[in-house]
Amino acid sequence: MSIQSVMATADIAARRRASVLAALVVLVVLLVLLSLGVGPVRLSPVSVIDALFGGGSDVQQVIVREIRLPRAVLGFAIGAMLGLSGAAMQGLLRNPLAAPELFGAPQSAAFGAVLVIALGLADVRSYALPVAAIIAAFVSVFALLAIAGRNAGLLILILAGLAISSLAGAATALVMNLSSNPFVVLEIAFWLLGSLEDRSFRHVMLALPFIAAGAIILLSQRNAFRALSLGEETAQSLGVDVGWLRLMVIAGVALGVGGAVAVSGAIGFIGLVAPHLMRPLIGHDPARLLIPSALTGSALLLSADIAVRIIPSTSDIKVGVLTSIIGVPFFLYLIMRERRALSGGVA
């Protein structure tokens, strides 16, 4: 065995990861084009590109650039953030069943936003909404990690997450319960289902800065996740400041998920599913999973958002409902696969 052979095998793996990444980028671009073309007025990818760059009829331009583009941008950004958050939390907790939605982060963010709406503190399109959502998400993730403690097993994490998301759900229900205006309640109820419909660039501007900040924070910590594969104590001995890392992950997830939930409502299970789809292709290195998981999250949300426009139904299906309907059985499948760890064996 020589240095050359050590490097060579690493090279092969690196090349494969690069081609997976390239394929994902192509897929996401195609889905964005498709998302711009699908709706009551169907447009071919060619006319979509045309309209994007100022060609085609005025109507086509309005449809593509003002009605569908914000929706596609949000689908891309929110999906990416959810996928990234899932991969980051799985990396931090060294646990394939970790994801913000299982730990009540989106539910808590939704509670923060609902509280602001119900109290009439701000209108639905003000920055108060994402800020409240971010604060609530931060508190929930912080509380979860505090309760779970260091080196928490799967069972504790999932139980604590269940408790936190139930609490956030109950608090949201209480706000709706106490609300005197039935129209506000109905609006909140639909918003909670999670949707990207009828979003404008105002919404994009509302969410994007927070999502970008969260993503940058999470990506900046990527190498620490790799060292964390050996456990917190060993990572610390290798020079990783684990306390700081935890804080950064909580902040990144809260910023991203809070910003996302504030404009889209709660969209579940993308953060859980995306890293799992990537592991067979990319490998298990938690640092290398971040960007592919983000792209997979984008692809998943864009596809789901296209699907709700295509599936024939009497009233529109909300995209959050669809992702949960598909995500929950997947979650059950994962639980089955991790059964040994959950029943107290080696984690």
């Binding site: 690493a10 060292a227 964390l228 456990g231 060993t234 610390q236 001995s237 290798l238 020079g239 290195d285």
Partner: protein
């Protein structure tokens, strides 16, 4: 540095959750030595190791090559102390090579796919020393317990730190692998490193260590060459056992025999 103390501790004390685990431990250890840290369960061996690695807050002063440990930045500390915890946790099924490459993390090589030639050489040396080259591409979760412990050992060697702190590196290994691991650590100390090994195996401690430190109830109660540090009196008072004692190939032989 030969002869002069490389690692010193003065009045070291550690409290965990309000309980005093270590009290007033003072020691001076030279490089080029293999030191065995022994004592009954709960004596504070792991805590002492973790305190030396800077992983638990402690009172008192630890100096490495004359510099206070508390004054060193995290990265610098990580380059001087390679720490091998109990249990060899490896959470993801990564290839063994990537695990070993994490030993270069303190040197700035955070991505195993992009090692500098210097880091790649260190990784290769460590894999050869721990004899894990043959399964460098296999996933660590698919390895046997013995193989995994050698990968963990290679990861620690790859740091190429002047101090290696190993917590029960031989537990749950068969006799051949125990000797293997101790020999590898012995080689590291022969090359000028300071190796501190926590172990319950007094036989291995007597056979391989230059110095034995005996901890009891958070205090350092005996230290010196194996036969002196593990005297009949210490065996009786600290471990409450008698031992068969002999010499074989000029090494001390200590076999725990009966409880007292």
């Amino acid at each position: 540095m030969n002869g002069a103390a490389f690692l010193t501790a003065q009045g070291l004390g550690v409290k965990l959750a309000g309980r005093v685990v270590l009290r007033d431990v003072s020691l001076a250890l030279s490089s080029g030595h293999l030191v065995a840290l022994v004592g009954p369960n709960g004596a504070g061996k792991t805590t002492l190791l973790r305190a030396l690695a800077g992983l638990v807050p402690s009172d008192g002063e630890i100096r490495v090559r004359g510099e206070a440990l508390s004054s060193l930045p995290l990265r610098e500390r990580a380059r001087r102390f390679a720490y091998l915890p109990q249990g060899h946790l490896m959470h993801w099924p990564l290839p063994a090579r990537d695990i070993v490459a994490l030993g270069r993390y303190p040197h700035g090589a955070t991505d195993p796919a992009r090692l500098t030639a210097k880091d790649a050489e260190a990784v290769l040396r460590a894999m050869q020393a721990a004899d894990v080259t043959e399964f460098s591409e296999r996933r660590v979760t698919e390895l046997s317990g013995g193989e995994r412990s050698r990968v963990a050992l290679a990861r620690v060697l790859a740091v190429e730190a002047p101090v290696i702190l190993a917590d029960e590196p031989t537990s749950s290994l068969d006799p051949r692998h125990q000797i293997d691991v101790m020999k590898t650590l012995r080689t590291a100390s022969d090359r000028g490193g300071l190796v501190i090994v926590v172990t319950h195996d007094l036989g291995l401690a007597a056979r391989f260590a230059d110095t034995v430190l005996v901890l009891s109830d958070g205090r350092l109660v005996s230290q010196g060459a194996p036969a002196e540090a593990l005297s009949e009196q210490v065996m009786a008072e600290v471990f409450r056992i008698s031992a068969y004692r002999a010499e074989h190939q000029r090494e001390a032989v200590i076999v725990p025999w009966a409880e007292i």
